[in-house]
């Protein structure tokens, strides 16, 4: 058991925790970021990644919408390589044109906020104009309203914050589950963690422990023996094998967003009071989303769904409030004031897009308590990769790597793409695609392992989109396992563990949607890993156990 001293320990490697770790480190605080699994493995990794204000909140929480728009503009400036822009079509169904008049004021206000997030104002389209823009729209629409919205690769946004934190001196630990909050009378002084991959137990001491564990916040609070309640809701998305529309489209209670090589349809919103580790999509929820989108895009059921993802929103506790009306505000809690427990702080609620200001508020409180006066610089200093723009075509030419591959590397790594391309120059075989669907090179996989704390195949998925395409890991799982074991100089046993774990993790998302072509793909995947690989063999499972 080791023991290190920090000024701040942040528990939770979602966007909020990563943002706090970055801010603390940038202000010179000796910081440790702990994540029980991997960055973005919880709520953050299951959001759509839109950097918008949320026009639907204009009526109820206009201040949240305004803050979101302001922060959206800041993120766009900090990490321009991670940003995409998309027209968002909101079809008007029967009676919608008349109803639109009732929202005219809200929409006008939202347009006004567009200056913060660099968006154009809305446009009202006739049915013909809307269908010319998006031919898959229903012939029954009366017209449509378009919004101009930005989005972000949320996995990469989190890792960019983590990299920045580390470059400013923070220590980073993943797969480090907090098993105890160290407390002496009313003073919290550290965290005991268990490394879930090695079983090692370690203790870290700190002046302040920040609970930024998202939906696991109450569990972490329980470790510190303080009460804390959330009003968590569950949301699921279904993911299609390709970009089935060229614009984002709202349906009757759901939306469809083209994203990378796929389309994402979401989002449900139901109270969820079970263990967040157990959240899964159900067939009923999948059916709800398809039905909701069908009104806008009648052909949606012909498209190929490859998987689902489910997450839990850590919303603030508002007893008696309907799911859809719960606030998107956030709160920084000082448990010294709330419960008389010193050294323990909690942050909860909020939205992905406002993570930076949430982190700033939390770090301000910590600095105030520590008597430190360093100002926040997180809105000025670019995130790693956002320092300068690079030209993918010139890089593709210069490094002899296909443009479509370089474009993806640049999207994920910005100006740091050259580091990966340099690896390809030194070891030309690293240009090989480990994941053909996306495409992900061996160089990028090795980079994520050595420079971005990837320790498992699922970590690699979040860093690079490994295994997220239509084949769902059929080809890349075993190839990536070999690279992982090689780069980390681990025994073959670890490779087999990783294959088993990854297959199981991905299965959770596929199982509710196995129909049509994806079922054919599943037969092939199963034939590979069960029929040939024998991963169902209990003897192999036993010797590969941790």
């Amino acid at each position: 058991m080791s023991c290190d001293e920090y000024e701040v320990i942040v528990i939770g490697g979602g966007i909020t925790g990563a943002g706090i770790a970055r801010d603390c480190a940038m202000r010179g605080l000796k910081t440790l970021l702990l994540e029980k699994k991997d960055f973005s493995a919880g709520t953050t990794g299951t959001c759509m990644g839109m950097l918008h204000g949320g026009v639907r909140y204009m009526a109820t929480e206009p201040e949240v919408t305004k803050l979101s728009c302001i922060e959206s503009g800041i993120i766009q400036r900090l990490a321009p390589h991670l940003i995409f822009r998309i027209p968002w079509i909101m079809p008007l169904f029967a009676g919608g044109t008349a109803a639109l008049k009732g929202f005219a004021s809200a929409i006008a206000q939202y347009d006004e906020l567009g200056k913060f997030k660099n968006s154009k104002s809305h446009v009202v389209l006739s049915a013909e104009e809307a269908r010319a823009l998006e031919p898959s729209l229903s012939p029954n629409i009366e017209g449509a309203v378009t919004m101009d919205e930005p989005g972000v690769d949320v996995f990469r946004l989190v890792i960019a914050n983590v990299i920045s934190a580390a470059e400013h001196g923070a220590d980073i630990r993943t797969h480090a589950r907090a098993t105890a909050i160290l407390r002496d009378d009313n003073q919290v002084y550290g965290v005991q963690i268990t490394d879930t991959l090695t079983g090692e137990v370690e203790e870290y001491h700190a002046t302040y422990v920040v609970n930024a564990a998202g939906p696991w916040t109450p569990q972490v609070a329980t470790l510190a023996r303080v009460p804390f309640k959330l009003r968590p809701t569950k949301g699921i998305h279904i993911i299609f094998d390709r970009r089935i529309t060229s614009t984002a489209v709202s349906g009757a209670g759901a939306s469809l967003l083209p994203h990378e090589n796929t389309s994402i349809c979401g989002l449900t919103d139901k109270f969820f009071f079970l263990d967040p580790d157990e959240v899964r999509s159900s067939r009923e929820e999948v059916e709800y989303l398809l039905s909701a989108m069908e009104k806008a895009i009648p052909s949606i059921r012909e498209a190929r769904v490859i998987r689902t993802m489910a997450g839990v929103r850590p919303l603030l506790d508002q007893p008696g409030t309907d799911e859809r009306k719960l606030t998107r505000h956030y709160k920084v809690h000082d448990h010294e004031e709330l419960d008389g427990v010193r050294g323990f702080l909690t942050i909860a609620g909020g939205k992905m897009v406002i993570y930076r200001i949430m982190a700033e508020d939390m770090t301000n409180l910590i600095c105030q308590k520590l008597g430190r006066a360093e100002p926040c610089r997180t809105k000025e200093e670019p995130l790693p990769g956002g320092e300068e723009q690079v030209d993918p075509a010139a890089l593709a030419d210069g490094f002899g790597v296909p443009l479509h591959t370089v474009t993806r590397i640049v999207y994920r790594h910005g100006s740091r793409a050259t580091r990966i391309l340099e690896m390809c120059r030194e070891e030309p075989q690293y240009k090989s695609h480990v994941c053909v669907c996306e495409p992900v090179t061996e160089a990028e996989i090795r980079y994520a392992i050595t420079r971005e704390w990837a320790r498992t195949l699922d970590d690699l998925r979040r860093r690079t989109r490994l295994g997220m395409g239509p084949c769902q890991g059929c080809h890349c799982t075993k190839v990536a396992a070999g690279v992982l074991v090689d780069e980390r100089d681990e025994p073959a046993k670890r490779g087999h563990q990783e294959v088993s774990d990854f297959l199981q993790e991905r299965w959770k998302g596929r199982e509710p949607v196995l129909v049509g072509t994806q079922l054919r793909q599943e037969e092939l995947l199963r034939a590979c890993y069960v029929g040939v690989g024998g991963y169902h063999n209990p003897a192999l499972e036993k010797v590969s156990q941790r």
Partner: protein, 408 residues
């Protein structure tokens, strides 16, 4: 198998297919474990089951030998073969190119895994590590010492994203094989090893010659590991089956079945459509060998269905409308997933039957993965069921047509 056997038996045979299915994607190995027991459960005759399995295996081996892609093995003795994932697979029939890697036949071995730079489907270093690990923990009975190396493949301009078919095609040229051997010998003293373990790319069309050159020049038993898709040995098997069919006089039509005409419980005609051609076939007997989901023999949309004849689909013995769809899948990936046991239920003469057990069309039979009740991936049964049921369906067709005729 059904078409080749039917033609060999003297029946005028036409194969209608849209394209290659699961066979061309497979390792090429044929599992026979549990096949006789499975067949006994259908034909209710133990002696006949064993006799049929023996005959089917013998015919399969003969067809493969005649098609210049010889197989070895038997239904009685299992082979343990290394695969490209670095684990082992128990199977029974395999191409000659894989046989030297049978770990059942050796007490101890020193394996040298030979990889190719830029060809990521075969990670020689990982395979070497993994096989040593499996040996150390007793998962394979042989004591294995392993080593690995990587060579630059001769005559390829690029060093990344090399694919199996490109390499296999290059190796069909004996000169390339010799250059590859030279590169291996430059990097390793082969006297230290008992076997060479190679990627499953030893020629697309001339695998026998490639293997012979390798073994002759290195003086070591050489073998291909079992392949994952895209699979050169799978394609070789498919093409060998095609050659076997042609040799027996099977007419092959590349078309999709779009309709059929039935009357009095018999299929009278089949309509097949290719791009610009329509076929009207009037068979006396029809054997449905359309596979499971990959082949399109069974589909799942809002329900499980057989798309050509709309035959009832069963899981085990349960008719699927009576089996809740949620009950077909479990939360654990490697557990049995009952959906992969979905298919057609047949009588003892392989005629698909209705939920009340009645034969649906008296001149229709079904063979292979389209059958219900077995999961060819998880076994027992495996791909051997396709060989045996195909063989048996051809026999039934011959019996029916030779005596009273299946339909009046």
């Amino acid at each position: 198998m059904a078409a080749t056997m039917a033609a060999k038996s003297g029946l005028g045979t036409t194969l209608v297919r849209q394209g290659y299915g699961a066979t061309a994607l497979s390792t090429g190995a044929v599992d026979m474990s549990g096949v006789a027991e499975w067949l006994r459960g259908i034909v209710k005759n133990s002696e006949m089951a064993h006799r049929t399995v023996d005959a089917a295996v013998a015919d399969f081996l003969e067809f493969m030998a005649e098609a210049n892609y010889p197989y070895a093995g038997s239904q009685d003795e299992s082979l343990t073969l290394i695969n490209a994932m670095g684990t082992v697979k128990s199977t029974h029939l395999a191409p000659e190119t894989a046989m030297a890697g049978n770990l059942e036949s050796t007490e101890s071995a020193g394996l040298l895994f030979v990889g190719i730079q830029g060809y990521s489907d075969f990670d020689a270093k990982y395979l070497g590590k993994s096989l040593r690990f499996l040996s150390e923990c007793g998962l394979v009975r042989s004591r294995l010492e392993t080593a690995s190396l990587e060579i630059e493949f001769p005559r390829v301009a690029h060093t990344a994203n090399l694919n199996s078919f490109e390499l296999a095609q290059l190796l069909d040229d004996g000169e390339v094989v010799l250059e590859m051997i030279e590169r291996i010998q430059e990097k390793a003293d082969l006297h230290q090893y008992t076997h060479l373990a190679l990627p499953p790319i030893l020629g697309r069309d001339n695998s026998g010659i490639v293997l012979a050159i390798l073994q002759d020049q290195t003086a070591l038993p050489c073998f291909e590991v079992l392949s994952l898709p895209p699979s050169v040995p799978g394609l070789r098997l498919q093409r060998a089956l095609d050659r076997a069919m042609k040799r027996q006089g099977v007419r092959i039509i590349h078309a999709g079945v779009k309709g059929f005409v039935e009357s009095q419980g018999c299929i009278r005609s089949i309509q097949a459509v290719a791009k610009e051609t329509e076929y009207e076939l009037e068979p006396e007997a029809v054997i449905l060998a359309t596979g499971k989901f990959i082949g399109g023999g069974i589909q799942r949309t809002d329900r499980l269905r057989e798309p050509i004849f709309d035959l009832p689909v069963f899981v085990d013995n349960g008719y699927t409308p009576d089996v809740g769809m949620g009950a077909l899948l479990t939360e654990r990936f490697v557990s049995e997933q009952r959906i992969f046991k979905a298919g057609l239920k047949v009588d003892e003469r392989f005629h698909p039957v209705s939920p009340d057990g009645q034969v649906i069309y008296s001149n229709l039979m079904a063979a292979g993965a389209v059958l219900a009740g077995h999961d060819y991936i998880l076994g027992p049964g495996g791909s051997g069921i396709s060989v045996v049921s195909g063989h048996l369906c051809a026999q039934v067709a011959l019996d029916q047509l030779g005596s009273e005729g299946a339909c009046v």
